[in-house]
């Protein structure tokens, strides 16, 4: 039976699963769209993985991405890590000498600086998502070009048009304006790529020392136009790893492998994941002035986990007495 480490990255746009063997080589990767249903996407991804690897035993599970807590409860993850660490670990695994990681995903972008294999600084977009995957998707759709070909259009351009890239909405209106003026589509797309690269470097790269080797990963790394724009602007080569779109999941699997050593995995098993009816609910806790929005995940009506309460009293209630739960029921609106 194939022994694997499972890594799951549930992002806003895509849900990715990877299986690593015990030598930590990539066996299989699954990339699919989350479509707003992280639980369903994870189930589908797991089913897909099962069809490709008919017989396997899970030695450890790592979860990352914005939906990490949700799927961790569902899968029984051994390691739950933030995306920044997961991506850094993934990049350093394939390129031990890496000093800069660009990661652009569906709605987040990150810049991670490593020296001697260790993260020394990072930045993450906070106020604006211009230039991330969702925005590029939307523009490709508007121009009627499949997103996979978007970048190739950009590199066919003779000369990029200047597009205002500070804000996603204004970038779009500027693109429309340039279309109305009659610029060829290739040149507008190339201009957009440059604007987005500029925006990224200004927002995240502010005051940070970007040194080669640079690894570019995340779904947007498929965009050749953006990669070229970075290369031109920084005057250095940008590497895109083979598994660029699932590096977070690989990082999570590696972290799980690292943390497992000899203890058994808390993986819940295929039946639990695939046969169960999962449901998520939310409530506003009135236990204190914070009024946290508490989300819970249920399987067959039974609560698996609570998230979002700052004091963790909801989560703690799963392990303690009924009195607490009654008290909590009163606090819920």
């Amino acid at each position: 039976m194939q022994k694997i480490y499972l890594g799951v990255d549930v992002g806003s746009v895509s849900t990715n699963l990877v299986a690593l063997d015990t030598r930590l080589q990539v066996l299989e990767t699954v990339y699919l769209r989350t479509m707003g249903h992280p639980v369903k996407a994870t189930q589908e991804g797991f089913r897909e993985l099962q069809s490709r690897l008919p017989q396997f035993e899970v030695l450890g599970v790592g979860a990352t991405g914005s939906g990490r807590n949700l799927v961790a409860a569902m899968l029984g993850a051994d390691e739950v890590k933030n995306e920044i660490t997961a991506h850094a670990v993934g990049a350093a695994h394939f390129h031990p000498e890496v000093r800069t990681v660009f990661e652009i995903g569906g709605q987040d972008s990150k810049l991670i600086l490593l020296r001697d294999g260790v993260v020394i600084d990072f930045a993450m977009n906070t106020v604006c998502a211009a230039g991330t995957g969702s925005f590029l998707d939307q523009q490709a759709l508007r121009l009627g070009i499949p997103i996979e070909e978007f970048g190739h259009w950009a590199i066919r351009a003779r000369q990029p048009v200047r597009i205002a890239g500070r804000c996603g909405v204004f970038a779009e209106s500027d693109m429309i304006h340039k279309q109305q003026m009659g610029y060829p589509t290739e040149e507008i797309i190339a201009g957009l790529c440059e604007a987005l690269a500029r925006n990224y470097l200004n927002n995240l790269g502010k005051g940070k020392e970007i040194l080669p080797p640079v690894v570019f990963q995340g779904g947007v790394a498929a965009n050749l136009g953006l990669r070229r724009a970075f290369e031109k602007m920084l005057n250095m080569e940008i590497m895109v790893p083979e598994h660029y779109n699932v590096m977070g999941a690989i990082g999570a699997a590696l972290l799980a492998a690292e943390s497992m050593k000899d203890r058994p995995s808390s993986f819940r098993g295929a039946d639990f994941i695939l046969d169960g009816e999962f449901e998520t609910r939310s409530l506003e806790c009135n236990g204190c002035p914070n009024q946290c929005e508490v989300v819970s995940i249920h399987r067959q009506g039974q609560v698996l986990a609570y998230f979002g309460d700052r004091c963790r009293r909801w989560d703690a209630s799963l392990k303690s007495s009924k009195v607490v739960s009654r008290e909590l029921k009163k606090a819920a609106r």
């Binding site: 930590l24 914005s66 890590k81 933030n82 995306e83 920044i84 660490t85 350093a92 695994h93 031990p96 000498e97 000093r99 001697d116 294999g117 260790v118 993260v119 020394i120 600084d121 990072f122 993450m124 906070t126 106020v127 005051g207 590696l254 492998a257 690292e258 204190c288 002035p289 914070n290 009024q291 979002g308 700052r310 004091c311 963790r312 009293r313 703690a316």
Partner: protein, 385 residues
Amino acid sequence: MRITFPHMGNSYIAISSLLKELGLDVVVPPPCSKRTLELGTRYSPEFVCLPFKINLGNYLEAMERGADAILMAGGWGPCRFGYYAQVERDILRELGREFNMVIIEAPDSRLTSLLNQVRRMGIKTSWFQVWSAIRLSWEKLKAVDRLEALQHYWLPRVTDKGRCEKMIDAGLKAVDGCDDLRRMAEVVDRVERDLSGLERDVDNGSPLRIGLVGEIYTLLEPFANYCLERQLGRMGVEVVRDVNLTQWVNDHLFGGFLPSAPSLHATLSLAEPYLQYWVGGHGRETVASTVGYARRELDGAIQVAPLTCMPEIVAQSVLERVQEEEGIPIMTMYFDEHAGEVGIITRLEAFLDMIRWRKMKTGDTDAKNLFGSRCRFCQHEFGGS
């Protein structure tokens, strides 16, 4: 006349006590909540900093409970805080509220100006009453600071974090309701004893120590920083914070000369090589404290401020050099009403991972959890490049 004042962390305990003992009828605003922020945001300028919006919400909620006078601090210099009181007053007037506003021109003004204003309100107080009111609220400030320090120390070290927080909250409530100096000290001693009786987290015997710096309101008001200190404590981190209430009162009302209270006056000189000017707000304190934390061998520093805070933006640009030359990892976090909690937690976790990873690399074996000095997966040695 019923007087109110804005919240800033646990400062209400001392402020309400002072005003009550001076013979005033006090309305403490309800604790900051989403509703406070919603009310404040509705009537504030879009681009003003977050504390302003919360202040305004505090006043509106206090007025619902019958407040008709506001006590607010003033200020001067490059920080927008200096205009808060006046602009807040005008907004409330435009909303048709009728009230009295008492503005004490701090920092660096005198308590006597407050007392004179109080007298002008027609409250008769003897000098003895004034003295004992000040004494009591000063002791309350000290008790609050001690409780906060206890939380910083114990939260990362115990297994039952919820119990620990409850004990601190109970202590704060007891201090709030106490008007006897001796009993107050007993309350805090009791909390300290109870805390040390909690079960220790043996896996976190020597927790990471992270110093907090930044704009004072964002530092002290958990509602404005998404409960940063407790989040860190629950992640197993001991928080260190130079700025606190007794320090502020000592430095700004007593010129830093109170012997029994902490002061940042001596620390300020540490900023000298990096920042020679007063840049307003807590900009210089931020740089100085961070240098101090680095010399005290803390594991990292987090700078917090409301979005668009000018003094802290200046400090942030200076901190890049501090990070490099003093060798302390620094992360800056800006907060406003649009901040997403998920993003905040992600960055905190990543920052702690980064520090632990770095400690492993430099051979500090206290830091377990994360990575070995060589990549366990492919066995390559870190630093091979």
